[in-house]
Symmetry: C2
DNA sequence: TCTTATTTGTTCGTATGTATT
DNA sequence: GAATACATACGAACAAATAAG
């Protein structure tokens, strides 16, 4: 134990407010006193209160609404179980959106998923490279907005080579029982291996608007790829998730070592 | 494309500086002009410059040193390949610190790992619960500071039931060839399954000091657990990693579904 | 060691802009 | 339109860390 590092005022105020919230002085859904009132109460300037609230925003503890006030958030973190998500059994049992549905319902919330884009496009560079496409090759883009009880929680954008998508008949909203993966499997192009690369970053302007984030909040960016038995990629997907409302779960056996030559 | 959303000044300044950095006007390792100079140059107040720099800090693009200046960072993101990390073959080939070593050396950096704590202690509540300990049971704490070319990049704290640690003879710094897991395996308590729960959060005061972070930066918190063939946990570990310097990689086969009853 | 200049960190008062009620 | 509430911006001032002498 060292001596208490002297803390700046706005951080002390943040600690104070966090404590008050967790202790129930301001229960979930309630509105905090205005910044002006808090300033008088605590004895600091309004700018300092504002800065303290920035921290609580970054933590996802409050939601600040301009002109209205600052409300205490109530969203429990959602567990994303990556392995379970793509198990063939789970897919065929619950349908294409089964995994997301289950993740949300488990918390007593209501899942919703809107397809906002579904068409052939020229792929972004990262997708073209990852999928090993030739110049001029097009892809099927499939972009979804996903909600938990009307709170936006996930933005998923997937890219599949257009030729393959047409052949598999997954260019419509309804991809049939088991979803896209099952259609690909019927062509002998079903995924047998998945990879995910995870990083955290500042949101783009789009994401900031969709999730209603402050620029000091971060999102998980998950690059999800599906591989065939021939070790060829058939899907490149970017999932964007606000960090404060998700916990990512993985599990794997110690023995199964993938020989793979890629580094 | 919508009309350009009008951006606040500090964000425009952040965009400007980010562009200058990526375009090479301020190469890695160089020092930016002082906030005062930038303020005059750009034509905004110093407070606005300061706020813009907060954003670049959160992105890990610059490192701000009070009294000295603001330097452009040069650390490339490190790839953490979780599955490969705990493969038995990799462990026995490279030794206990093999995975971390390889991750760092791959980038041309020099790895270092200091054990800063290694002793029996009363477990924190989360660890006791996760390990299924009885009240009064102690644990071996093993806390490590890890560096890449003297930059702090990882803080690892592991907890192993003390009785088990003693029996396996892993209470010293030198745990022998293959490390702790190999000693446990010799007792029939070797891990056969791993789980990791990942979230991102604001750093604690300790972490902030160790990594030299601003409070608007976030860290990955990875709860790593090792399970025996009897499905009992033998290790509870918390890894803390600044989000901006890591990419987490996972992969798994589509077919292997773990039956497990836990939800 | 002490002093001074430089540089970033924090805070305030004040003012103005924008969104909501 | 008026009142309320958060967002941004500036200038000024002082605190704290560092570097140069």
């Amino acid at each position: 134990m060292t001596v208490d590092a002297p803390k700046s005022r706005y951080r002390q105020v943040a600690d104070l407010l966090r404590r008050d919230i967790t202790l129930g002085k301001y229960p979930p859904g309630s509105t905090l006193p205005s910044e002006q009132d808090l300033a008088s109460e605590v004895g600091v300037s309004r700018v300092t209160i504002n800065r303290a609230l920035q921290i609580l925003r970054a933590e996802g503890m409050v939601r600040v609404l301009r002109g209205r006030g600052t409300v205490v958030r109530s969203v429990p973190p959602i567990d994303r179980h990556s392995n379970r998500r793509y198990a063939r059994a789970a897919r065929e049992e619950h349908g294409a959106r089964g995994a997301f549905d289950a993740e949300i319902r488990r918390l007593g919330l209501i899942p919703r998923s809107d397809i906002v884009q579904l068409e052939p496009v020229d792929p972004p560079e990262a997708a073209a490279k990852a999928l090993g496409l030739d110049p001029g090759d097009r892809v099927l883009i499939r972009k979804r907005h996903m909600y938990a009880s009307d709170e936006p929680v996930l933005l998923a954008t997937s890219y599949i080579p257009w030729a393959l998508a047409e052949q598999a008949g997954v260019t419509n909203k309804n991809t049939g029982p088991g979803g896209t993966y099952s259609r690909l499997a019927e062509l002998g192009q079903g995924p047998v291996r998945f990879t995910e690369d995870i990083r955290a970053r500042i949101p783009t302007d789009d994401e900031e608007a969709f999730f209603d984030l402050a620029e000091n909040q971060q999102i998980f960016e998950i690059i999800h790829m599906s591989w065939t038995v021939d070790d060829r990629p058939v899907e490149y997907r970017i999932d964007a998730l606000p960090t404060f409302q998700w916990i990512l779960h993985f599990e794997w056996p110690a023995e199964v070592v993938n020989p793979d030559g890629r580094s």
